[in-house]
Structures are given as C-alpha cells and as structure tokens.
Symmetry: C2
Subunit: 364 residues, 2 copies
C-alpha cells in the first residue's frame, strides 16, 4: 500500500538496506512540508523498507513535531539527560543492520550516535538516491523557484541602477542585500558574491571592504533570494564605466557558451552532454586556459543539488529538472566573467526561468 | 614553537590522536578569518599533533584558498574527476591512525571519504574541545556581537511600533526581516520565530500564513541578526491589545527567572548552577508544569554553541563567555512567554549585551 514513505522504502529495497534515515534538511522538509532547526540536537526519522517508521526527537520540538502527524513511535530526549538512551530505545524498537543516509546532510555526531546504539550498523551514503527524489520539480515547485528568481532579478535591476565607481564591493553587497529583502526575500540562498576587478577572477570570491571599484572593472554579482523554501541563483557580470576590447571578447565567448547550453538542453540529454557542449565553446576560444568550473548544478530547496552538470556525469536530464547554466572565464589577477541562468528542462527543450538581460552592460 | 595551530595541536595531544581535521564552519572561519562555501565539495584541513598541516581543496576554491597563506601541502581535486584520488594523495603524504573532528560540523560524506583513504582510521568526535576554543570571546568578538545585537534591537523596536491585531504571523515576520536588513544585518542568524496565541507555546514555532493575530494574544519574537560573522539571539514576548491577569503573572515569573540568571552569573559559576538558579524560580511558581527548555546556550559565530546552560553541565563559566539567558513557560494550546538576553560573563558578574526593555509591553 503506497504511503508518503513509498519512495524512501523503494530506495532501501534497491540498496538492500534495512531502512532510510532522514535528518532535518531539504529532503525532510519536502517530505513533511515543515522544517526544523537542528543545531546541536539530533532529530532522526527512520523509515524501514517495510513497516511503520520511527523517530528520535528533542523533547522541546515535540509540539512542533506533532504537526507532522507522524505515523510511528517517537522517542524523545531532553538536553539535561542527553540522547544516548533515546537512541538505545529506538534501536530496541526498530532493529536494523544497515541504513541509507543523506551523506551531505547528516553530521558525524549523529553517525556516531547511530553506531553507538546499533553496534555493527552499516551506514550507506545514499545522498544521490535520496536527494535524487527532488530532481523532478512539480509545477508548484517551479512556481516557487520562479518567485525566488523574480525577487532576485528585481533586486539586481535596482542595484545596477545605483552602482558607481568608487563604491567598495562591501557597499554594493549591502545594497544588494537591502534590495533583496525589500523585494520580499526570506533569506539569502547563499552568501552572495560581489567581486570587482581581479576579485572577479575568483569563482567563489568574498567582497572586500577596502577595494573601491574602478572605472573599467568587471563587476560580478552571483547571488539569489530564498523564498518559501526555494533558492534562486543568478550571476551577471557588468562593466563599470567602460569595457575593454578584451573584456568584450571574453564576454561574447561566455555568452555564446551560455546560449549553447540553452540550445542543447532538452529531456533525454545527459548532464555530460550539456557540460560538454558549453565547455567546448569556451575551449574553442582563445581563452581556454581561463576555464575553471563545470557548467552548473541542480537548484531547488538546496542551492546546490543534483543534477551536477559536468563531464563524466552521464545522468539523463528529465523534464522537470532545474539546473544552473553558468559558464565562466577567469583570468587570474585580472578579471572574470560568468553568466548564470536557471534553466527548466522540458520535453521539447528548455525554459529559462531567468530572464534578466544578458547583453553586455556598462554601469555607473 | 607556537604557530596559529598550537591550540589544535594541543587538542590532538590531549586526546592522544594523530591530528585534528577541520572543515568549513565557525572554527575554520575563526582560525583563518575567511569562510568558504562547502555544499557538496569537501574541503578539509589536517593539523597533525606536530609538523606541517595539509589541506584538501576543491580546485575552483584554490584562488580563494591562496588568501589563507596556508603553510602546508595542498591537494586539489576537480568536480569532473572527484575527490577520491586527492584523499588518497593526502593519506600518502600525511599518514594517521586517528583524527579528532568537529562532530557537529563534518558531514558523513567527508567521514566516509576519510575512512576510504585511511582504512582503519579512528575518528573521534572532538566537537566539545575544538568548538570549546571559541568560548572565551576577545574584546573584538564581543564588539561584533554587540553590533549584531544593536541591529536586532533596532529592528525589534521598529516592528513593535507597527504590529496590529489582524496582521498574520507571516506579515509580522516579513516586517521583521525587512527591518533587520534595513538596519544592516548580513543575514538572519537563524530562521526567526514569530508566534502568536497558541503558537507561542511551541518553543520552536513556525510563523503561520493564515493566523490573524487577535486582541489578547501573546506575541513571541525570537530572532537575531548575523553581522560580520557573529550572531545575535533575542526574544521578547509582548501582548496585543491587552494582557490577561494570567498572562501578567506568567510574564512576571519568567522575568524574575531571567533576572535571577543575571544576578547569579559571574566567572567561576557552573552552567549547571545558572540553569538551576533560573529554573528553580520557575519551579517554585504555580506554572512549573509549563517548563520545557533549559536556560540557554553559548552564542558567537554559531547561534548555538558552548557553553550549554543546563543542569548536569558542570562546566565552569569563564570571563569572556557569552550565553543566552532565555527562561520560558509554555502552556500547550494557549500561550507561551520567553524572555531572552545575551549575557557576557565577567570576573565580577556579568554584562547584558541586550538592553531592550523587559517590562510587560502591550502593542497594537
């Protein structure tokens, strides 16, 4: 009989393990439509291949946990006594010899608590399978992503109107943050990147408090709103005052690579093929030595999730997958250009959820 | 010869393990004064009990990693080829049989990558020891906390001026978010709690989109700005329109417990003693059955960190520790009251970094 745990039970069966264990995070929130703070307090749901689930819950979360209408036994624990006894009670109630976990979400202290309660437990990293359940977005999830993207694009338009040479990267980042929240963001989807001049050549740069943006600088903004649990991720690179001939040529190359990614995407293509098509454009240019990253990553409740758009990943993209198409070229010590859109795979092609203009823009 | 790793080397020696391994997070940021995105890409620093450190770094982070002026060997890896070979190269370069890790920060996929590269590695959870290095705040760190708190209090004042009966919890949360960022927050320190009426009785409530706040409701706001890497955490409970006699009596009880916490705190007292003093006030009241939480937790780069202020934790509080003093009483299905200050332990007593008024306040 299918229940809300069916897809997790199937993973346990496929991996020939006794159960799947979930901790708070994107998979948990999707399943229960409610998020939990985790911090230092373990909260674990165990879903066996068959039979009722069980949970280990901090006592002070019980009243929130009630709202999940959880079907199984709940073992709670209090800060004052610790969680070892609750894990032992869980183990007595629901024995297992092997369990699949979200390797990129569960932390080592929970791993240790599980192995202490289940002495010879085999813990299998099933991040790929469990988070893989989130790859195909429902229409409601696509709408939530579009909303986060709309907020982000409105904020970007506002900031680009206000950037001037002489401002520091920090000041531009502050403008961006204010604009995002004025537009209705719940949070940053990730620490934003605002990088000018040589800093733009670092793919994951940090804004500097003391660097005044200069005329002729590239200015790269990579950021996104989180709204209703979904993340936007958009990058635009503009030029302050003017763009040199080299900058224009690099920009055109990156834009052609980005457009190539849109062109080739449709249901049935592999992640490898998309990255290969995009990266080949960069490789065929005079700037091949400036390639530093793969084409992109999936996007949804997490800002980085499957599918990872890179050579060697032969996963087939299905309709409903959303990923970032973000080629870039980075000249160390000089400047970088990245153009990033959020793309929805459809049966017949793709739809860019991002619509912010990509023509070379001079600001200030 | 002391170097910037001395305190980590001492932990390795104390625990009789070969090394400490750090991953991006608060301890990493404090050590290097730079944060890294982690997501799906492992980045690990290994600090042996003696000798030079080594690092495993995603290739696309190398240009940012350069800024750390790292002293040891760096093994980088690319998305396209994966990280197994880099872990193997690290293991060949820096053999170890045991390692101390941050159990609440490191995730299972890194644990698995380490044990794959070091087959019989003993992984010791040294969260307490490693994060314990952050307990005593420097004057600069206290100033950063005060700044985050100042931003939070200004936002709270703004929101309380604007709350009216009939608004939903969602609307009040949106006002709060906008006010925080208008005041200069870099981020929320954690998902804010805005809970009215019966929802305020859930210690970790979620704002509801569809509950209009009513006259007579308790309204609990628990939130904080993150600024320059430091977190504020403040709770105030106000009443909308009017407060019932029961509400006033409960409020007075919680306030007396909170003030008791300030009274007893000074360097040398234990976390147990503080919680015991605070909780005893609640226990001596007619509302003892509404106690659901310990008194508080440490506060700094993480919003929950050591010292945990609870009975059974006989850790001595040292001057420079900062913790939350947040007693509360929660009547399930009716209302809850929590009052939370951020407190700096000093040699002679304590200093509340929070100064927002605590007299019973009626809004709207």
């Amino acid at each position: 009989m299918p229940d809300r745990y069916s897809e997790f039970r199937r993973i346990a069966q496929d991996l020939r393990v006794d159960a799947v264990a979930l901790v708070p995070g994107a998979n948990f929130t999707r399943l229960f439509n409610q998020s939990f703070h985790s911090h230092e307090r373990p909260l674990v749901i165990v879903i066996p291949a068959s039979g009722p689930p069980a949970a280990l819950v901090p006592n002070l979360e019980l009243r929130s946990f009630d709202q999940l209408k959880f079907e199984g036994e709940v073992f709670d624990w209090r800060d004052q006594t610790g969680y070892a006894d609750a894990f032992a009670a869980l183990a007595a109630h629901l024995p297992m010899k092997s369990v699949a976990v979200e390797g990129q979400v569960m932390r080592v202290f929970v791993h240790h608590a599980l192995t202490a309660a289940y002495p010879r437990l085999r813990i299998v990293d099933a991040e790929k399978q469990i988070s893989g359940l989130r790859v195909r977005k429902s229409p409601a999830e696509v709408a939530a992503l579009e909303n986060a993207i709309k907020i982000s694009e409105a904020a970007l338009a506002d900031v680009l109107d206000r950037v001037r040479a002489g401002m520091t990267e920090f000041q531009v980042e502050a403008l961006l943050t204010q604009a995002l929240f004025a537009q209705g963001a719940d949070a940053h989807a990730f620490g934003p990147i605002v990088a000018a001049g040589d800093n733009s050549a670092r793919p994951h740069a940090h804004a500097r408090p003391d660097y005044p943006i200069r005329n002729g600088d590239a200015l790269l903004l990579d950021f996104g709103a989180q709204k209703s649990g979904f993340c936007a991720d958009i990058t635009r690179t503009v030029f302050v005052g003017h763009a040199t001939d080299e900058a224009q040529e690099v920009y055109d190359t990156v834009l052609r690579a980005n457009l190539k990614g849109h062109d080739v995407t449709k249901a049935g293509i592999t992640a490898h093929q998309v990255d290969d098509a995009v990266t080949s454009v960069l490789e065929a240019s005079p700037f091949a030595d400036r390639i530093r990253t793969k084409t992109g990553h999936g996007l949804g409740r997490d800002v980085h999730e499957a599918p990872y758009i890179m050579r060697g990943n032969h996963e087939v993209l299905e309709a409903g997958a959303v990923f970032t198409n973000e080629p870039g070229l980075y000249k160390i010590g000089a400047f970088g250009v990245r153009i990033e859109d959020d793309v929805l795979v459809t049966e017949t092609g793709c739809r860019s959820l991002t619509s912010f203009p990509k023509t070379l823009t001079v600001v200030g």
